[in-house]
Symmetry: C2
Subunit: 471 residues, 2 copies
């Protein structure tokens, strides 16, 4: 009976997997050295909640157990499919005329990549219970994501033994530590199969409203605001106070005046995501509108990171044949796929939550943390994430392993970095916390700096230091 | 006799001009819509001092009197031929295999451009009196440059009526105001032909050691130094103190320690000229050496501004056939042409001179000033030049004409700007002072941001505001 049962289980699993296999995506050309899957995982059958994922196997042919990485974008309420997979570190980016362009710096060179549209209301993920869309919060996101992982690993049991990593950016600074904490708790339970969580990576993350979003000095030192406006930020209303007023709906005239002034000086034609990226000047109004609303940026300057890409992604993911190939939108959602701003009403007070104690706690529990920062981002400036890294190191009594200094990618400086840690029980040095900037990179680091981002990711999943001058 | 004399003079002038005409430069292809001249002007016959110039006529065919701009690079002791003409805003840049590439953003689209190798000891300029090379100073530079202009205009009398502009960068923040002051004095003399000096432009200029070079906050906010090092800069030794110790040869261990630390953190592979530009990874050791020593910079990132260009310029300007075509090195200098660091020993104490009062004085005397800043430069950060602009505006009681905000180049944000001025005797608004950043630009603005730089220059020589959102 045991053999019969296992055979049936194997058949069930394989047929399930087969149904979610993507033979080919519209616009995709040539033979691939990896398989792609996508579909839904039901996280709450009663409510009809289903989270959409896009999974890309590692493209490396090495006969080893590759790591598995779950990628999450932020928002709250932004799509990991649109940003992470098709704009940042996935295997393809939509080109002109519906083609897909291979991304030579895709993170699936290093790891199996699992992109999750989370929470419900984001992209193709949904709930059949209307009230789920009202007042959703971080705790629910973490719990749904946790259920997703366990069920996904049940459906793809061949990846259960992989080293498991969580990576993401921006508001994923909330999602990932909370999810990681649930997984750490899960693993304490002797009656469950543990999830091999090895480390987490947070790019330009929102961690603490008091620190993360303070951008006055950053904008001033990058030329984007004047002396007078910086003075107003320091005396009348800073970014933390402004955002706190915003999320708690307690408006003050002083804050509004300062932030209208900041917005005027920085200009709508410069994206806070990246002070250097040009705006898309495509003649397509649809593209132009999408790009400006989601990812506004400016400046005549050659740079990796095509500012018109978001427009093409929007078009691509809304094509019926693409949705069909992705096994997406099977319930025919009453709205189109979008980068952010779906039907979900998130509890905005959650933005005002300090995640630093949770990150510290994860480190204490043996989960190494990488905090990285695209240095052109004014939303969550590198200066602020660095302050948080230093504070955590101090609080946990972690020692810097070497001086703050440059790291390298392809014979060029990729950015600056510092790692912190200490000796483990066996006296061996263990890195608990790494801070790294990515030179010239946007809020979405792999978008503008794909090669540097892949080098960073290589170090992260291999648990090795970033290449330094002496290495 | 009058007619005879004039004919003879005309013949003399024309033959002189003809002899300095460049029929073609090695590597140059195609028909040009402008003429080029180069050669020497003797500024002191007794000492045998001769300054080398390269002059490019305006390429515009419009039948108007084009402006004439004298361009000066800094150092002290760096070449306007190598930097200004062949790397930044001249009509050509050396390509591979000895070719010359047309620069579509050459400033001679707007103005006749006169590049001067100044002072003696720089590039092809020389003195036959050895002691001239010892302890040369700003005053001597200004006087020699002044003599140069008067004599050059005598040799090229057809440009005497042009509106005359001075532009340059870095240590030209010393050269240009001092030269402008001599020209303003000159014009007071009723017995001389006045020089039509209209305005001066100073890019990333050294103006005051107490302000201009303070880079701690800038480097910190760009990720290049750590919290601890910024703290040391604020408490132990800042850049002004360090440079003052350096130029007065009064070394302190504290300053040396801090600056070794800054240098280690920023790294030799990142140029202070531009925190984002990659280093040249050409296999040619000669090029590599030249690039690293003169213009070190780093970071895998697409950007205008070819980091290997300096190597090609060095090779090009040292070719005998190029020197012959340029009428250069006619006295066979005992050293090769170089970007900087010739045989000249400059009085380094001059670096510690505050030029702000002189700039203010020029404004008071009716000479408008443009202070512009490539925003990736850590040598003279934009933040510091902006402080100086604001201080001057305050001291002279100049009003800002509009809010600090973006300016545009080709539908993209070129940078941020603010202009200051007041009403003239007739009640008409006059711009006396303009501050402008150039987004993504190096210390050498036209090198990395040629299109933006040309737009900036267009506004400058036409005395019109930079394109703003509303324009």
């Amino acid at each position: 009976m045991g053999v019969w049962f296992l055979s049936l289980l194997f058949f069930f699993l394989c047929s399930k997997v087969r149904s979610e296999l993507i033979p080919s995506l519209p616009g995709q050309h040539g033979h691939l050295s990896f398989r792609q899957y996508s579909g839904y995982i039901v996280t709450d059958a009663e409510h009809g909640r289903a989270l959409f994922y896009y999974f890309v196997e590692c493209s490396s042919n090495e006969d080893v157990l590759h790591p598995l990485t779950l990628w999450l974008n932020g928002g709250p309420g932004c799509s990991s499919l649109g940003f992470g997979a098709f704009m940042e570190n996935g295997p393809f980016q939509p080109g002109e005329n519906g083609t897909l362009i291979k991304n030579p710096y895709s993170w699936n060179i290093e790891s199996h990549m699992l992109y999750l549209e989370s929470p419900i209301g984001v992209g193709f993920s949904y709930s059949n219970t209307s009230k789920d869309y009202i007042d959703w919060n971080d705790t629910q996101t973490a719990e749904d994501n946790y259920r997703f992982i366990l069920k996904w690993l049940e459906e793809f049991p061949q990846f259960k033994d992989c080293d498991f990593f969580l990576a993401g950016e921006s508001y994923a600074g909330h999602y990932i530590p909370q999810l990681a904490a649930l997984l750490v708790e899960h693993n304490k339970n002797p009656n469950v199969e543990p999830v091999n969580l090895k480390a987490i990576a947070l790019g330009n993350p929102l961690l603490d409203l008091d620190i993360s979003v303070l951008a006055g000095d950053y904008l001033w030192s990058h030329g984007a605001i004047s002396d007078e406006t910086l003075f107003l930020e320091k005396t009348v209303c800073n970014d933390s106070k402004y955002m706190r007023e915003y999320v708690h709906s307690q408006w003050s005239q002083g804050c509004n005046d300062v932030f209208n002034r900041v917005a005027d000086e920085v200009s709508l034609d410069v994206g806070f995501d990246d002070l250097l990226l040009p705006v898309c000047t495509s003649s397509s109004n649809v593209e132009q509108f999408k790009v400006r609303s989601i990812y506004s940026a400016v400046g005549k300057r050659e740079k990796k990171g095509d500012p018109c890409l978001t427009g093409r992604i929007f078009t691509y993911l809304n094509k019926p044949e693409v949705q069909k190939a992705l096994h997406a939108n099977t319930t025919h959602l009453p709205f189109h796929w979008d980068f952010c701003l779906g039907p979900l009403v998130y509890q905005e007070e959650n933005i005002d939550m300090n995640l630093i104690p949770l990150v510290s706690n994860l480190i204490k529990k043996g989960i190494p943390v990488l905090l990285y920062s695209g240095d052109q981002d004014a939303k969550i400036p590198l200066t602020q994430t660095r302050i948080i890294a230093n504070n955590i190191a101090k609080e946990l009594n972690l020692s810097p392993f070497s001086n703050y200094g440059t790291w390298y990618d392809q014979k060029q400086v990729g950015g600056w970095t510092q790692s912190f840690g200490g000796a483990d029980a066996n006296g061996k040095n263990v890195t608990n916390l790494t801070f790294a900037t990515v030179r010239g990179a946007a809020h979405e680091v792999p978008f503008t700096s794909p090669s540097q981002a892949l080098t960073l990711f290589h170090s992260f999943v291999n648990g090795i230091p970033l290449p330094r001058p002496s290495s």
